[in-house]
């Protein structure tokens, strides 16, 4: 039986179809302003028997497509355990939220922390900061890694950080150094969250922000251990939902 998982995030939607634990296909699109229309388009032409939804748009999807749902937290736990068996700690930084998840030795969620209403320290923060400094989002991390010095950024709030960045630019600071400082501030926050749940390895970093090489480097430095990143870190939630669907009793 073919099971699909769909992860409707604030920035992107991912779809994964599995059969007997093997990934048959993956798809991704932008969430845009009409997530259900985008989700419908993503499903178009895909062949599967059952589907489970996760991500912040899961409840909308539940109503529109009459599908069961699971939280991103459980879905990420499942997805990571399937890709990296034995993983004990997950950091997931997505478009508008960040989570640290501790898994037990069976791969089940033991404890988690999640940012509250504010998008400080998430993908959105990095996106706005990249724009403020005139970087493409895709090159933001690699450019930050080229910095000669590290600047300390105090503000975590996007609005405050933007004015802090503006004043650093006005002082003539190198924009790469500012970028590195911004990455450091996100990492400080993420490490605090990880340490509140667990810091037991192996630690897996997933979600869209895991594609940023500077984040990985700084995390490894701060945690003093290797941080593993799945091949496609944005697909983890959808994969987890698909696998949970296949485990669901009918």
């Amino acid at each position: 039986m073919r099971h699909a998982g769909i992860d409707i995030g604030s920035r992107t939607i991912e779809l994964v179809v599995v059969n007997d634990g093997d990934i048959l296909s993956t798809r991704q699109t932008d969430t845009g302003f009409d997530p259900m229309a985008q989700a419908g388009e993503l499903l178009n032409g895909m062949d599967f028997d059952r589907i489970m939804a996760t991500g912040y748009g899961r409840n909308l999807f539940e109503i529109a497509f009459d599908a069961p749902t699971v939280t991103e937290i459980k879905a990420y736990g499942m997805g990571v355990s399937a890709l990296i068996p034995g993983a004990r700690t997950i950091l997931d930084i997505g478009g508008q939220d960040s989570k640290a998840i501790a898994l037990n030795d069976m791969g089940a969620v033991k404890k988690f922390e999640m940012n509250d209403r504010c998008a400080a320290g998430t993908g959105k923060f990095l996106e706005i900061m990249a724009k403020t400094l005139g970087f493409e989002l895709a090159e933001f991390g690699s450019e930050a890694l080229k910095a000669q010095d590290d600047l300390h950024i105090n503000s975590m709030c996007t609005v405050f950080a933007e004015s802090e960045v503006t004043s650093l630019v006005a002082k003539g600071e190198d924009r790469r150094a500012i970028a590195l400082g911004l990455h450091q501030s996100v990492v400080r926050r993420a490490v605090g969250m990880i340490k509140r749940v667990s810091s037991e390895g192996p630690i897996v970093f997933a979600g869209g922000v895991a594609k940023n090489p500077c984040m990985r480097r700084l995390l490894e430095e701060a945690l003093k251990q290797e941080v593993l990143i799945p091949e496609d870190p944005q697909m983890v939630g959808a994969l987890g939902a698909a696998l949970l669907s296949s485990r669901m009793k009918t």
Partner: protein
């Protein structure tokens, strides 16, 4: 309820247009959150009525009492001893808070990083929409947290009949001496306000009325140990909230009636949620009407709340005044003993509270604890971390939530609460 009470509200000096808006929002919230619940006990009909008349009939009753020469005293805290107020044949009412109102006006006189509860109380005053506050002959502020005690300095200019009660911060002999002295001073103030001299007989009567009210709501709490829980957490919270507004004798009867009904539900294993639903103990800051956000999210995310370790809940009601003798002094000592046991987070250290959380977790057969901290409520937020650590060290799953009265974090809260349910029942 509007038409018939317009002149009364006008006389109290309420802003009628703003007050109409408030009642409309309250009614809609009640409809969406309360009346949409399934399998409610029939006895909750009484509380539906009380809530629908919370600014109407109940205020009319208070106005009638005032016309008959009795006094109304308003309070913001469970440390204000209702026994003393009752002994003087006066009525104690909880004052309005629990919803954001006139926030922009409030932030002109209070720091923005003041908790929602305090800001809300000020908002109801500045917006002129709390008939309880406006009908109070005396408003009692109490020195609990810094936020409250400093804000009373500002409230004094808005509420001329404000009386401030000092409270200790340590459970020491000196602490007890302070609360004792303050309760005697309060007794004198109440006597002066009402013109009633409180003798032993009157004080005994006051104690009996309030004890009976506490016994009834505690009885309701104990019935929630059953699986399935015979009543939703939202409904039980409402009963705990109305504790602060209603006529105490009528309230006691109504709660006891619900308890009779719940006992027969337990026998038949009936309840609003099926057996095996994850059972949540809420712990932390008080929730005043209409602050139903978090309980609503919990009970619409697959959980059932089986207890509140809160001032609007067991912390405020678990202890009774023991029969303390035949003189006013002896009875006053018994009252002091009772209130000095309240394990509010303003006390340092405060080990009793943690012990009570653990005790309630076990006795109410809970599966997990959700700690509710109101943003900027320093005492409870500070305790939330050691409470979480201590519970988790004992293998008790705990979720720490920090939020306010706003709805903009409802989506994120729902994700966290649902994920917590998944941890409890994987």
């Amino acid at each position: 309820m509007s038409e018939q009470y317009q002149s009364m509200w006008k006389e109290l000096g309420l802003n009628l247009a703003a007050h109409d808006m408030l009642l409309e929002a309250l009614g809609k919230g009640y409809q969406d959150i309360y009346l949409s619940q399934k399998e409610r006990p029939e006895g909750m009909g009484y509380f539906d009525f009380v809530l629908s008349e919370v600014h109407g009939l109940r205020i009319k009753e208070l106005m009638d009492e005032k016309a008959a020469g009795r006094k109304v005293i308003g309070s913001f805290c469970v440390f204000v001893p209702e026994e003393i107020v009752r002994a003087a044949d006066a009525t104690l009412v909880g004052l309005c808070t629990g919803a954001d109102f006139a926030t922009e006006e409030v932030e002109k006189i209070l720091p923005r990083n003041t908790c929602s509860l305090i800001k809300s109380a000020f908002g109801f005053k500045l917006g002129k929409v709390c008939p309880y506050l406006e009908s109070s002959d005396m408003v009692v502020g109490e020195n609990t947290c810094d936020g409250k005690k400093k804000s009373y300095e500002t409230l004094k200019d808005l509420v001329p009949n404000l009386y401030v009660m000092d409270l200790p911060q340590m459970k020491s002999d000196e602490g007890r001496a302070l609360i004792q002295a303050e309760y005697f001073r309060f007794k004198e103030a109440v006597e002066e306000l009402t013109g009633v001299t409180i003798d032993a007989e009157k004080l005994k009567k006051g104690i009996a009325i309030v004890n009976n009210k506490r016994k009834a709501i505690h009885r309701l709490s104990l019935l929630r140990k059953a699986d399935p829980a015979p009543i939703s957490g939202l409904d039980a919270l409402l009963a705990n909230q109305v504790f602060f507004y209603d006529d105490p004798v009528r309230y006691t009867d109504s709660v006891n009636k619900i308890c009779d009904e719940l006992e027969s539900r337990i026998e038949k294993e009936e309840g609003p949620f099926p057996k095996g639903t994850p059972r949540i103990l809420m712990s932390g800051c008080p929730m005043a009407v209409p602050n139903w956000k978090l309980p609503w999210i919990i009970e619409s995310s697959g959980g059932v709340i089986v207890g509140e370790e809160s001032c609007v809940g067991e912390r405020g009601t678990r202890n009774l005044v023991t029969d303390g003798g035949d003189t006013v002094d002896d009875l006053m000592e018994a009252i002091v003993d009772r209130y000095f046991k309240v394990d509010c987070a303003i006390f340092t250290p405060n080990p009793d509270r943690l012990a009570h959380v653990e005790e309630m977790f076990r006795e109410y057969n809970a599966d997990g604890v959700i700690h509710y901290g109101l943003q900027f409520c320093q005492p409870y937020i500070a305790e939330s971390m050691p409470v979480e650590k201590s519970l988790e060290d004992k293998g008790i799953p705990t979720l720490r939530i920090e939020t306010d009265y706003g709805m903009e974090d409802a989506g994120q809260l729902k994700t966290r609460v649902e994920a917590f349910m998944e941890v409890l029942k994987p």
